[in-house]
Amino acid sequence: MAPKLSLKICHLYPDLMDTYGDTGNIITLQKRCQWRGIKTNVSSISAGEDIKGDFDFFFFGGGQNKTQLTIAHDLQKKKHSIKTAVENSAVLLSVCGGYQLLQNYFKTKDGEIIKGIGLFDAYTQGSDDRMIQNLLIEISPDLENKIKETYPITQSPSHPVTQLIGFENHSGKTYLGKNLKPLGTVIKGAGNNGQDQTEGAVYKNAFGCYLHGSLLPKNPHFADYLIAKALEHRYGKTNLKPLDDSFEWEAHNQSVKITRSRG
């Protein structure tokens, strides 16, 4: 028998950044691994704690504006560990506040600059527009092809794996640097800034986005892509056993339908 596979997951600031059901992403990673006999080990790393150990996956969720300030300061001390891990092909998923703090900086409405750690060559500008709605995007073509390679679609051929669906709630507008690729193109909603139709960012295996919802439970193709990449980080290319994703796709399709009809 092959040795049991196991993933080390780092949940960044789970006590401080937990506002929009983003724990659902961690639950999804754990369950989808568990159903395949892959062990997961989740470590919560908060303010004042060092990132120790060789993590395969980092998750960084959204939170309230006030706590984001505290974290911005603490995150500088973790900058090196996170950047090194991503350079060494570890997987990272960040949502909303987490996504913003991993950029170059956040400029508040009052002009104050909150320094990020520059993992994503992007910045966010505070605004008075609150972008609050369902958000549907078309995944960038090269990423889409990679997802198709990893997600075993045999059991649900009727479900296109080309989109991501979630809910956005932010007032910061994110602008990507020239060489940074977006996660996808907005079909419905605002995305990064409500202007250039881009949503999220991809740098190596690090992803940033404004998709709450939670994102991973009803986007199983993306969840599995992240798991496959995390396994690859530890073990080299590994094939994922297909799961029965009928509930996941029902949830995905119901949300897409609502979003397309009433936004």
């Binding site: 006030k66 709450h212 509930f247």
Partner: protein, 479 residues
């Protein structure tokens, strides 16, 4: 000249004038009354429309009415517990006052206006001594100015429909400014166990009464805690908890500044929660102790009882009477509301945000076996963002469930959440149509089993209609 005047002209073209009569107010009242009458004919439950039209004509409509209420108003606000607390308060105060109250929970300014329209004569006279208003937390600072507040009760502040309210820090900030501008004569009743509410003490110049739970431990299962207060609201240092009851409510002290929980004037201790939705507590009103057996379940209802008792205490009501009234209080609309359909018992518990839903799950987890229908809608009043179901600890009841059904416009989001919480759920038990799901759930349960229905707000309205039809109960809005 305003719209109101132009509509009332004499044949010679001069405006109609009555001595000392405010025509704008009067026109607003008549339009409101006609709207209410038409809506009643149509059998509609829309409670806000008459008030909305009246306020369009006279923005000071509520303010003018409030001047008539000699004892001023009691304002109840907070994320969870407004409706139940104000219903208990109404039962308590009706021994002393004739009350005007927005019982149906229409809690924006237009809801208050509608209540005045409903309760006043055609000349705009209201025969009530005190007003009892539950008010939405986001509009409170704006609405309170029109209400001549005698007492303001702040229950709690949790994350709730972030798509609508925004973050709770911004609501708390708006409350600070409101408190600074309140007259000294307004008494403020605060929840001592919620550090975000306790913190507001320092912005208050009037008399303060506090309430809280004295027990160190509660005999309910623990849920994964979601806390909306990460740091001291006063100085941002770490808060240390010796007891945590629900979300960020408990016994706390700041590690840096002087903010900490102290013994409240109104408190509950010896809390016992038992199977069959029974609750008993010892209620302390300053130096008076009362043992109570309550008909309403759950920790959250103990807080509602405490808040209402604090009001009763400040109104100098007799202890025996308070005890008797509290022990008889059964439930408010959709909050532990019982129905009987063909001999089958149904209990409805409104769920609307993770903290409230977690408290309900803790409460029902005491039962031996659960038959449940959960309904998740995503209309504006429910919150269009359904991600809160992932902050809700469904896991704690997964092993207790016999039959489970899922319904509502976001039925599949919820079904998927339950799948990841370890529930065995058949896709046959998931249906968008609430009517279908209720019939299906009833057909699958036998007469001995109780069916628990957990709907979000708009799903509750629909559930109520369906169950009323099935059990021939009165429509809720006629209560």
């Amino acid at each position: 000249m305003g719209r109101g005047h132009q509509l009332l002209l004499l044949p010679n073209g001069n405006p109609l004038k009555f001595v000392n009569m405010d025509l704008r107010f009067y026109l607003a009242l008549i339009v409101g009354k006609i709207t209410a009458f038409v809506l009643k004919l149509k059998g509609s439950g829309a409670t806000a429309a008459p008030g909305l039209y009246a306020l369009n004509i006279d923005p000071n409509f509520v303010k003018k009415f409030s001047k008539q209420i000699t004892n001023g108003s009691i304002i109840i606000c907070g994320t969870n517990g407004k409706t139940t607390t104000s219903r208990i308060t109404s039962d308590l105060l009706s021994s002393k006052y004739k009350i005007i109250h927005n019982r149906q929970g229409s809690n924006l300014l237009r809801g208050l206006a509608s209540t005045f329209i409903n309760k006043s004569s055609f000349l705009g006279k209201v025969d009530c001594h005190i007003a009892l208003w539950e008010i939405d937390e986001a509009v409170l600072p704006h609405v309170i100015k029109d209400t001549n507040p005698k007492t303001l009760v702040l229950l709690n502040l949790f994350r709730d429909q972030l798509d609508r309210y925004g973050e709770i820090d911004s609501i708390r900030k708006s409350w600070q400014t409101m408190l600074l501008n309140l007259p000294k004569t307004t008494q403020v009743i605060l929840n001592e166990d919620d550090p975000g509410i306790k913190y507001l003490e320092k912005f208050t110049s009037g008399k303060i009464t506090t309430f809280g739970i004295e027990d160190k431990k509660i005999n309910l299962p623990q849920t994964t805690n979601i806390s909306d207060i990460k740091q001291c609201p006063n100085c941002s240092a770490k808060l240390i908890y010796t007891s945590t009851f629900s979300a960020h409510m408990g016994h706390y002290a700041c590690t840096s500044c002087s903010l900490k929980r102290t013994t409240p004037i109104i408190s509950a201790s010896n809390l016992i929660f038992e199977r069959g939705f029974k609750t008993s507590i010892q209620l302390t009103l300053d130096n008076q102790k009362l043992s109570l057996n309550l008909k309403i379940p759950g920790l959250y209802n103990v807080y509602n009882i405490l808040a209402a008792s604090a009001i009763a205490y400040s109104e100098n009501l007799d202890g025996k009477f308070i005890k008797n009234t509290l022990q008889h209080f059964a439930s408010a609309f959709g909050r532990y509301q019982k129905f009987n359909v063909n001999g089958k018992e149904i209990i409805v518990f409104l769920i609307k945000n993770p903290t409230g839903a977690n408290e309900i799950l803790k409460t029902i987890s005491l039962e031996e076996k659960l038959n449940i229908l959960v309904i998740l809608n995503d209309k504006i009043a429910d919150g269009k963002d359904v991600s809160w179901i992932w902050d809700t600890n469904w896991e704690i009841i997964s092993k207790k469930v016999g039959n489970i059904f899922v319904s509502g416009s976001r039925s599949w989001d919820l079904a998927n959440r339950l799948k990841y919480a370890g529930f065995k759920l058949s896709n046959k038990n998931v249906c968008k149509q609430i009517n279908y799901s209720i019939t299906q759930a009833l057909a699958s349960s036998n007469n001995k089993d109780t069916l628990l229905i957990l709907p979000t707000y708009t799903a509750l309205l629909e559930t109520q209609k369906i169950l009323s039809k099935l059990s021939r109960q009165e429509k809720w809005h006629q209560n």
